[in-house]
Symmetry: D2
Subunit: 306 residues, 4 copies
């Protein structure tokens, strides 16, 4: 049994500018720095950090953590996933598209330093309000050459539940919204139009209100952050979104809303091509880059790059 | 001196469906009905009604009221506007594009019937919460063949202030945002790409919060109201918007936000073609219909009709 | 393993007025009516109904449903809970304070009639926007003479997790916030100052935004619904609230917000008397009725009755 | 004719802590500093500054600026106000309670330095999002021994309109809400229970949304700013509020909402003692300090001091 996703390690060729984005614009705290990496957290993350930002030649996702419910779950899962290896108490393996996962149980809870002590004990850290002031890492959207294979792996091996999906008229599965909890999505696979393998579509950070997404858009505008998709409401999963690009080239979402799935026998809602042609919830058309661009970008992505 | 805009008379070829839209979806009250007309009001309108909805062969705006500050202002303005005529205590005249205005002073204040009595005396009517529950008529956007001529008429003759505008590279003025108060706009002229004369771009109704615009979009979706532009923030004047079409074909906006102009010497902010090419505040591209479609629609508008 | 709470059966001595409140003010749908009962639902409830409203001499909670994850869980739980009995496929039992629970698995999913069909298939029903338009039943707060006993029963027997609590200086446990999921609370026990047994503190219905809570307060004011506590933010569990009384005398909350618990080893946050003396999150003092009044009311509650 | 209020000069015995509050928590910019004063601005203020914060032995309001519509208005008003004097192009005078006003016309418009240049030209400064990020000075609430005399002075001499008021059963006028525009209040007089003369009740700064008031309350909590009244909605004038104390002891409001007055013949809404006993819009009781404490504080205010 897996409890949740995170932390994730994100790669950037522009470490200083990326760090400034996550600290100043998204409003995360720099919990620590070591070597080529900075360890960042939202004010509501219970662990020490949810994002490791690391300098690298190209942007993309290095790996994605998954915290097992307990040590016994960790070991049981590891036995069931062939081809992985243990390192530092984490079991490292890849999904069918080559994205690296690291499954672990033991972790460090955050203890706020004096200047970040919250006034109320039921939140891990002071609410600073800096920038978009994202609360926590919410979900990861991975590009995949074979969405079905990845979705089956996530559900059958990792225990994710399948809440929504897209299946084209020719039968190809091009999207899968997956969750470990009642939240409408925590892990998403969408088809990689470049068929490149192991790429990231976006990381999403949670804020508690739609107004905070709108405010984040104002901040993006005045901070010069390229907005790919202005705040609106998704049709699939009904999340409220704002998409932009951090300086390293990775797509970042500020998200809130959606619905909760309480039915233990919930059947996935599968959308057809015709239904998807309606655009987002309120009819907004998705911009082309959203269907193609991922990190690391392919040569064809160059023209879509922010 | 003119105090404010309204009421307006809106024409519809589908009176029943239009009335259902304004009552059920926008949440206005039907204050009364007479002949082919229904008299409607938002919960915050201080007059008996702000919208007269009248059956007609084609959609469009019949006329737009302007309330003079007092009887003396009314008479002084009437003297200064050639070509009009008095009828029922109102002075009727047209702007250079042929839109009819009716200037008046005497009016009837709303007295709520028992079932609509508010709990607090500083609002004219109970807040029913039905549908989008718009508070009041906010502004009117008129199409004009010659925006400059209309803007000069509004400013020089009617006393509007000019807060924002658009001037193309070839010197043509294609938009003017005008106000009688500190509100960023109350009357807007934009260029009529069809050069048809006397047409309406849209009527806008006010809600107090952006969340109510988002909520109105949800209501539009489930009530089958065609959404032309999903909620977002304008660049010009910074108003928050939702655009849809009422069943008669008229474009309706649900709006909030913007800024207040306190500087008595405020110079108009004039946008260039290049600046307008940036899209709306958060980069949203304006859909083509927004640049062409007006009511009554021209034959060329047919393909853009909702 | 239990999936979620609901439906609940609520008793009212004023069935017509109560029904009008839940339909007109809270905006629930009347799914059906039979005998002395009406079956109601929020627009986001996946089951046919989440609230059964039944005429009775006094207000209060008749029973509270709990849906087991599957048939096997249902049977296993039933074996572990002594003193209950099977009826209509439900296992009926009581907590240590005498509140009746009904554990079941088989259920009917909602199929919206034509006029309530949603535009998007991932929501069970059209968003009507009527009244506060609550989305779903969220949580139940039960008064208990012995909070510790009830909390231990809920955790040890029903599988709830204990996220927050109040323990007085003398060691008495006077509040326990419990959940089956990552939501910060789904079942709450607070001390019954009247020590009456089996009483209800309140039912809470979910809306997606704080703005909807504020809007609900406006609706309460103009609909004459007594507001016990105006919208604000709880210290414990950080939920945003509005409390009022339905005509039958039961306390009803409109709620949103709070946080999600992702840590599988989350230790309960236990508040002391001194900490609780700080009031709610932003310092609001709790009104006395909140600490005493429950349904059915005791004679001492009479003076606090709405 | 007077255009608007501001700037104001606020006195503080704790200049460093007060400056940190206005910069870090309210999120204002320090436009410049000179001598014992800092000149601060909201991101939406069109003038160089709206607040002068000056070190002094006790808190309070030094004076309040009023910008005349033009030079001719300025001179005409000055002639009509006996007992004032000209200094630096400003006409200084006092209201009947002894509050100093400075009437002026010439002013400096803000030109943002490079790091605060906005992305859109129709706002004077970049939206930084720091702290509560108030947009502009909104209104001033002055304590007065004789509210009626001050209200008559403001209306008859300065041209304010009287939109709402409180008159007790014994005929004493204890509150007056006044405005120069369609905004529901820009200058407020409330009775000084200490009858001290020349005191300040509070300064109010505008944010565009209620969500920003709620967010400001979270910031106040974690920054250790004493909250006097948590976010809620006023009955009188219907403004949404948050009240706290800056370190120097002055009461500060973060405000939004309210309504617009379009009727040129609007009669003031006068509230009776019985009506005021209903509390705020949603029934919240006003805390005692709100009725007594002002700056500079009297000896009796000591126990109410934050």
């Amino acid at each position: 049994m897996i409890a949740h996703l995170g932390p994730v390690e994100l790669l950037t060729p522009k470490p200083e500018a990326s760090l400034a984005f996550f600290h100043d614009v998204l409003g995360m705290e720099i919990e620590s720095q070591a070597g080529q990496s900075a360890f960042l957290r939202g004010w509501g993350d219970y662990q020490r950090y949810s994002l490791i930002l690391t300098e690298a030649p190209a942007p993309g996702l290095a790996w994605m953590g998954l915290r097992a419910w307990d040590q016994e779950s960790l070991e049981r899962h590891a036995l069931a996933i062939p081809g992985g290896r243990w390192e530092d108490g984490m079991y490292r393996f890849a999904d069918p598209d080559g994205h690296e996962f690291r499954l672990y149980h033991e972790t460090e809870r955050y203890v706020a330093p004096e200047h970040l002590k919250p006034s109320w004990r039921n939140q891990p850290q002071r609410y600073t309000g800096r920038g978009a002031c994202v609360k926590r890492l919410d979900h990861v959207n991975l590009l995949a050459c074979d969405v079905r294979a990845c979705r089956e792996f996530a559900c059958d091996v990792l225990g994710y539940r399948h809440y929504e999906g897209i299946v084209l008229d020719d039968g190809r599965e091009t999207g899968a919204w997956l969750s470990l909890t009642t939240a409408a999505h925590e892990l998403i696979y969408v088809h990689d139009a470049r068929e490149a393998g192991g790429r990231l579509h976006h990381l999403a950070f949670w804020v508690d209100t739609r107004e905070e997404c709108l405010r984040a858009a104002d901040l993006f505008v005045d901070a010069g952050v390229p907005i790919e998709a202005a705040p609106s409401k998704h049709g699939v999963a009904q999340g409220f979104f704002l998409y932009g690009f951090e300086p390293g080239g990775n797509r970042i979402e500020v998200t809130t809303g959606g619905y909760m799935v309480y039915d233990p026998e919930q059947q996935p809602v599968i959308w057809s091509e015709a239904e998807r042609a309606r655009g987002q919830f309120w009819g907004v058309r998705t911009v082309p880059s959203f269907h193609y661009y991922g990190t690391p970008p392919t040569p064809e992505d160059a023209e879509l790059a922010p």
